[in-house]
Symmetry: C2
Subunit: 343 residues, 2 copies
C-alpha cells in the first residue's frame, strides 16, 4: 500500500490565485486495485513530471463563463501537461513501462483514457534526453511558438519577424526559431533587462522596451524593410502600429492579446490594411496542432534545438504537494524560465 | 487604313469621376504597320468587349498615393478586363485568331505583352458561350466571389455564410455559389428592394436592410447557429457585430471594407475573438488567384453556373467612345447588373 496525493480545484480565485484555491489531499493507494479497476482503452500512470503554465489561471473560473479552454471542475484535480510511466494499460496503443506525455490530472497515480495521451516518448529519437525536456524546451509553449511561426507564419529566409511579449515563455522560443529560419528578428518587452536578454543571450537582431519608446516609431526604425510576420501576443495599440508597417502578403499568427484580456477592448482603426496588404490574421490554439504537426515540431527541434545553442531556462520544484506554491510563484513571476515540478 | 479610337486618362477626379477626366482620341491606324512594329513576345489584339468596374475609380489617382492597385498613368489609355481577337502574334503562347481574355488598354486595337493575357478562351470547354460571358458571369467579380468563398472560405455543407453588400456585383455571386455548396446564406444590403431581390430571385435564405435594423440583433436572429464564413465587404461596425457571432474555426475572407475607404477608421474593439474562436481573417485581391485557381473557377462555373439557374444581369453599351459615360453611369448606379461595352 502506498499513498496517492492529488491537488484539487477548491475555489475560484477573485483576482490572483492563492493557496486557498487549492486543496492537497492524500489517500492510501493500492496499485493492484487501481489496475484491476481500470476502464477499457485507458492507462494507469505513475506521474513523474508536471508543468504549470499561466493559461491554467484562465481555467480556474465558473464553467458558464465562456473562454477558449474548458473550466476546471470544482472538487476535481487540476490537469495539465505532464509526463509519467504507464503501470497498467487496457489500451492497444500503450504498454506497461512506456513513458508518455499527456494532459494529466495532478496526482501521483492517475487513470486516464488513451485520448489524454499526446504521445509515447521513450522512442529511439533521442534516447538520452531527460524526460522533463518534453515539458520544457520541447513543451507546450515551444510547440506554440513553432505552430504559430512555422506552420502559420510560413517564414522565408530574409524576411522580418516581429514578436511582442518577446521575453515570455513563447516569445523567447519564437525569436530563436526565427533566427534559425534566417529571419531578421525584432522583439518588444517591458524592461531594459529583458531587452538585454533578448539581444545578448537569445540573439535577437533588435529589441525595445515598449514602456520607454513610442511603438510605431521604434518599430519603423528597427524594421526598415517592413514586417513580414508579426507573432501577436498583445493586441491593441501594438497591433495597430504593426498594421501600418506590414508588408504585402504579411502573416499575423495571433497567439494572445494580453492587453485585451480585461475585455476593455482597444478599437483597432486600421484594419483596412488587411485588404490593401493582403494580410492573413489567424487566431490559433496549440491544442489544434498536435495531431498534424507535433511530430514535425519534435523532428525540427531534435535537429535544431538540442545542440546547446538554444537558450532555455527552467526551474524545478519537488513534490506534488508543492504544485500550488509553484503555480502561484510562477504567476507572480518568481520563477526563472519554465516552471516544472518533479514528483 | 482604319481608325483606332482610344480612351485616355486625362485628369484626376476630385470626388466622383466625370467626363472631363476622360479623353477620347481617334487616329488613322494601319494594321500591317502595327503588326510589323510588334515587340517580341507580344500580341496585337482587336478588342471586342470591355468591362468597366468600380475598382477602376481607385486607380484614377496620383501615383504617389498608396493603394493596392497601381494608379493609371495620365495621358495614357485606361486599362481593364477585356476580350479580343489576336490579329498578330510574336508570342509562342498565342496564335492569330485566338480569342483572349486579359487586362487590355481601352482601344480598338492594342499591342500588349503576352503577360497581359489571362487566357485563351476559344477552347472546346464551352464552344457556344458568348465571349462576353467571360467578362460577365465568368468575369472578375464572379472570380472574386469564388476565390474568397471557395478558396479561402473552405465551405462545408450545412454551414452558415453571411455576406455583406450582398446585392453588389461580388455579393450576388457569393450568395449563389454558397447555396450550391449547401450553405445557409444570409445577406445584408441597404434597401428593401435589394432584400426582396436577394431572397426571391437569388435564393438567399435570409437578408436584411441594415438601414432599418440593428446589425448585431438582426444577425443573431437570422444566424441561429452562428456564422462560419463571413464574406467581408464593408468592415467597421458590421465586422464587430459579426465577430460576436462567429463560430470556432470561422473564416473571414476580406474582399472589401467599403465603410472604411474614407480613412476615418472605425475602431474594432473585439478582435480578441480572433483567438478565442480561432478565426482566420484574410485580406485578398483576386489578381493573386488567377495563376492557381482560374481554371478551377471556370470548371466549377461550367458545371454549376451555366445551367440557367444562376441569376446574372448585364447591361451592354456600344462603341468605345461610350466607355466614359458607361463608367460614370455605373458609378452612379444607373446600370442594371454588370456593365459591359461592345466594340
Amino acid at each position: 500500500m502506498t499513498t496517492n496525493t492529488k491537488v484539487l480545484f477548491k475555489s475560484i480565485p477573485e483576482g490572483a490565485a492563492n493557496l486557498a484555491n487549492f486543496e492537497v489531499v492524500s489517500e492510501p493507494f493500492n496499485i493492484q486495485t487501481a489496475a484491476a479497476a481500470l476502464q477499457p482503452n485507458s492507462v494507469l500512470i505513475k506521474v513523474t513530471w508536471l508543468s504549470v503554465d499561466p493559461y491554467m489561471r484562465g481555467r480556474m473560473r465558473k464553467p458558464e463563463v465562456a473562454s477558449y479552454s474548458a473550466a476546471f471542475t470544482l472538487g476535481q484535480p487540476f490537469m495539465g501537461h505532464g509526463v509519467g510511466i504507464v503501470v497498467k494499460s487496457t489500451s492497444e496503443k500503450f504498454a506497461e513501462g512506456d513513458v508518455v506525455l499527456g494532459i494529466l490530472p495532478w496526482g501521483n497515480y492517475v487513470s486516464v483514457p488513451e485520448a489524454a495521451i499526446t504521445r509515447k516518448i521513450n522512442t529511439a529519437d533521442a534516447p538520452d534526453l531527460p524526460h522533463e525536456t518534453y515539458l520544457g524546451l520541447l513543451g507546450m509553449p515551444s510547440f506554440t511558438a513553432y505552430a504559430g511561426l512555422v506552420v502559420l507564419g510560413k517564414p522565408k529566409a530574409g524576411e522580418t519577424l516581429f514578436v511582442s511579449a518577446a521575453a515570455g515563455a513563447v516569445g523567447q522560443v519564437v525569436g530563436q526559431i526565427g533566427k534559425r529560419f534566417g529571419l531578421r528578428v525584432v522583439g518588444s518587452c517591458g524592461t531594459d533587462e529583458k531587452v538585454d536578454h533578448l539581444v545578448n543571450r537569445l540573439g535577437f537582431d533588435a529589441a525595445f522596451n515598449y514602456n520607454k519608446h513610442p511603438i510605431r516609431e521604434k518599430l519603423a526604425e528597427l524594421c526598415p524593410n517592413g514586417i513580414d510576420i508579426y507573432f501577436e501576443n498583445v493586441g491593441g495599440e501594438t497591433l495597430e502600429a504593426v498594421l501600418t508597417l506590414m508588408n504585402v502578403h504579411g502573416r499575423i499568427p495571433v497567439c494572445g492579446m494580453i492587453s485585451q484580456y480585461d475585455g476593455a477592448g482597444y478599437g483597432v482603426k486600421n484594419l483596412f490594411s488587411v485588404i490593401s496588404k493582403r494580410i492573413t490574421l489567424q487566431g490559433f490554439l496549440v491544442s489544434d496542432f498536435y495531431a498534424d504537426h507535433h511530430d514535425a515540431f519534435l523532428k525540427w527541434m531534435f535537429e535544431h534545438g538540442l545542440d546547446g545553442t538554444f537558450f532555455y531556462e527552467q526551474t524545478v520544484a519537488n513534490g506534488i504537494e508543492n504544485v500550488p506554491a509553484a503555480f502561484i510563484g510562477m504567476m507572480d513571476g518568481k520563477n526563472i524560465g519554465k516552471q516544472l515540478i518533479k514528483l
